[in-house]
């Protein structure tokens, strides 16, 4: 029996090791390909170990880097503002819904809940945000539509407030003379950092990874986020040569096209790969919190 149990453990290790390898390997290919000489790529294709090592792709991107820097600026701005605003309005809506004294609580709960069941769809949303609110080609188009808040996060936060903040605590604060705002700010919020961090992290990832809003609402290259820039470059590698300062035919010839494609993807994904070890703990925990509620 002992042997059988150990056998299963070893089997688990082997399987999980293979799975982990499969998860990482494509990134290795990506990074290796971006560091390979253009001629070697033409001759041998992308491979896991560079046949001829070269940083030409990165040098090329560094020289023509203004678009990339600006795209990063857009992404960072959208992520920071979107996440902060999103978490704030989610918490402000979720907290009163967790209090039994709130007037019309059930009606408002239903209003929130119904948005999880029925969607107007893409075309009506597009019309609302372009015809009623003139968001097309503004930075707000990358922040407001769809991502700012959703019913699921409101529900998750409400459940947290209900189960993790003792009602007696709120009551005693109010007996001591604290008003509703003050109770929320000085008692409830400090006790809610786990859920605020979880939802904040999820929103951060959503904003950082979003490319759909940019594709729908943005046509001006100055407002491209890093994802949209990647997207554009993949569709047409020439975009980079026509939109970055020097536009001579010479530059086109020298451009290490195939390696640049991979290098720019590396630049897009690197911040996440670097930051992941620091926040992975919260990410995995966040999935579990969501799951238990689920």
């Amino acid at each position: 029996m002992k042997n059988e149990s150990r056998g299963l453990t070893i089997f688990s290790h082997i399987m999980m090791f293979i799975f982990a390898l499969v998860c990482i390997i494509p990134f290795v290919l990506l990074i290796s390909a971006s560091l390979t000489d253009q001629d070697a790529i033409v001759a041998q294709g992308y491979s896991f170990i560079p046949h001829t090592f070269s940083t030409a792709a990165y040098e090329y991107l560094y020289e023509r880097g203004t678009d990339i820097v600006r795209a990063y600026g857009v992404t960072v701005f959208v992520t920071v503002v979107g996440t902060a605003a999103g978490v704030a309005i989610t918490a402000l809506l979720a907290y009163p819904l967790s209090r039994s004294v709130t007037p019309h609580r059930n009606l408002i709960m239903f209003v929130v809940f119904f948005t999880m069941l029925f969607h107007g769809g893409l075309v009506p949303s597009y019309l609302v945000y372009t015809q009623i609110f003139d968001l097309k080609n503004t930075i707000w188009a990358l922040i407001i539509p769809g991502l700012l808040m959703n019913g699921f996060y409101v529900m998750m936060m409400r459940t947290f407030f209900q189960t993790s903040i003792p009602g007696a605590l709120i009551e005693s604060a109010q007996i001591d003379g604290a008003g509703e705002y003050r109770t929320f700010w000085t008692i409830v919020l400090p006790l809610s950092t786990p859920i605020l961090a979880t939802i904040g992290l999820f929103e951060c990832i959503m904003y950082w990874n979003d490319w759909q809003l940019g594709m729908i609402y943005i046509t001006e290259p100055q407002l491209f986020s890093i994802q949209n820039l990647l997207n554009r470059i993949m569709q047409d590698i020439q975009f980079i040569t026509t939109n970055m300062s020097d536009n001579s035919g010479d530059a086109m010839q020298q451009m290490p096209t195939d390696a640049v494609k991979m290098a720019i993807a590396v630049i897009g994904v690197l911040p996440i790969l670097v930051a992941y070890p620091f926040f992975q703990k919260y990410f995995v925990k966040g999935i579990m919190i969501g799951a238990v509620k689920g």
């Binding site: 029996m1 453990t9 688990s12 999980m16 799975f19 998860c23 990482i24 494509p26 990134f27 990506l30 033409v42 041998q44 294709g45 992308y46 491979s47 309005i89 402000l92 809506l93 009163p96 004294v101 709130t102 007037p103 209003v111 929130v112 948005t115 069941l117 969607h119 107007g120 769809g121 893409l122 075309v123 009506p124 949303s125 597009y126 019309l127 609302v128 015809q131 609110f133 700012l148 808040m149 019913g151 409101v154 509703e180 950082w208 990874n209 490319w211 759909q212 990647l230 997207n231 195939d258 494609k261 993807a265 897009g268 994904v269 996440i272 992941y276 990410f283 999935i287 579990m288 689920g294």
Partner: protein
């Protein structure tokens, strides 16, 4: 004291007064909710009204109200083409495959994780297998491109020559490979994530069950089959039914980005979401795509209701509402 006297004097109005007081007393709570509710009104409820445009001939210069009514014409056109069938079939079949196989894989993966007692390695595996979930579909499409690019991809230049195939395959124009490719990419990205959800449920199982089984001489595999599986069945059923409720929706990024929006792959990669998107972006028919969007909203809604009804019948606690 004064208030009590006043209330007693105005006896018929007493309930009204009470209500008014309650509003005044809790008005901060109501005010707090305003930003969120305004957002939902704009972001969710206005577009719901907007579905009437499916019954109009859309004209962007005339605007929403100016466009003329044409009744069910958009729907008629949509269902006359083979598109409606193809996108419905693809959306449903891919989802069914993802639900059935995905649940099985995630469950197995969670069980394997549960067998690993080394805390450090467990953390390592958990973080690595959830990593793909964190990456945007744009990046994923680059990863797939590095493997499948016809001229420079790892498959065509390295893997296929091992098997004596020198010509390579033009992956981005051959539709027959895509059900496999999309399925693999979907699981690569999602199995780790969903296995953590199951793993969280596994952690909740009382250790005593296993202890008792061990005393009775049950092997580890038997414990999994006769303790873990039955305990998790309700969770699995509920998650499955809820995903069936969302069977009309697809992961837009997967079906749009990963095949690089290639028209040659329409038959095996188009779903309702990509169809609606192409219509809006001008490479398709806007009227028909709006009709497809409404078709998706309404059938999707009915399916959620039905799925929830079924869950509710089985176990009230697991139902969504």
């Amino acid at each position: 004291m004064e208030k009590a006297v006043m209330a007693a004097e105005a006896l018929p109005g007493i309930t009204y007064k009470k209500k008014e007081n309650r509003y005044r007393k809790y008005s901060p709570l109501l005010i707090m909710m305003v930003p969120g509710l305004v957002y939902m009104l704009i972001n969710n409820y206005l577009p719901m009204l907007g579905i009437v445009i499916a019954f109009k001939k859309i004209n962007f210069t005339k605007g929403l109200l100016g466009s003329e009514w044409i009744g069910f014409e958009n729907f008629e056109y949509l269902f006359k083409t083979s598109d409606a069938f193809i996108i419905t079939r693809n959306t449903i079949l891919y989802n069914l495959l993802f639900i059935v196989l995905g649940t099985a894989l995630a469950f197995i993966c969670a069980i394997l994780l549960n067998e690993i007692k080394n805390k450090l390695l467990l953390k390592f595996y958990q973080s690595v297998i959830t990593l793909p979930h964190l990456i945007s579909m744009v990046i994923v499409s680059y990863l797939v491109y590095a493997l499948l690019s016809p001229d420079t991809g790892f498959m065509n230049r390295t893997v296929l020559p091992w098997f004596g195939v020198e010509d390579g395959i033009s992956w981005y124009s051959e539709e027959k490979y895509w059900p496999w490719i999309l399925t693999i990419v979907h699981f690569w990205k999602g199995v780790g994530y969903s296995s953590i959800i199951f793993f969280a449920a596994l952690l909740g199982i009382d250790e005593e069950y296993y202890e008792a089984a061990r005393l009775d001489g049950a092997s580890r595999v038997k414990q999994i089959l006769h303790i873990t599986l039955p305990i998790l069945t309700p969770v699995i059923t509920m998650l499955t039914l809820l995903s069936i409720g969302r069977i009309f929706y697809s992961d837009f990024g997967l079906f749009y980005q990963v095949p690089m929006n290639s028209g040659a792959l329409f038959n095996t990669t188009a779903t309702i979401d990509t169809y609606v998107f192409r219509g809006l972006m001008g490479s398709g028919d806007i009227g028909m795509s709006t009709a497809a969007g409404v078709y998706q909203s309404i059938v999707g809604f009915l399916l959620v209701i039905i799925a929830n009804y079924v869950v509710r019948k089985a176990s009230k606690d697991n139902a969504l509402f």
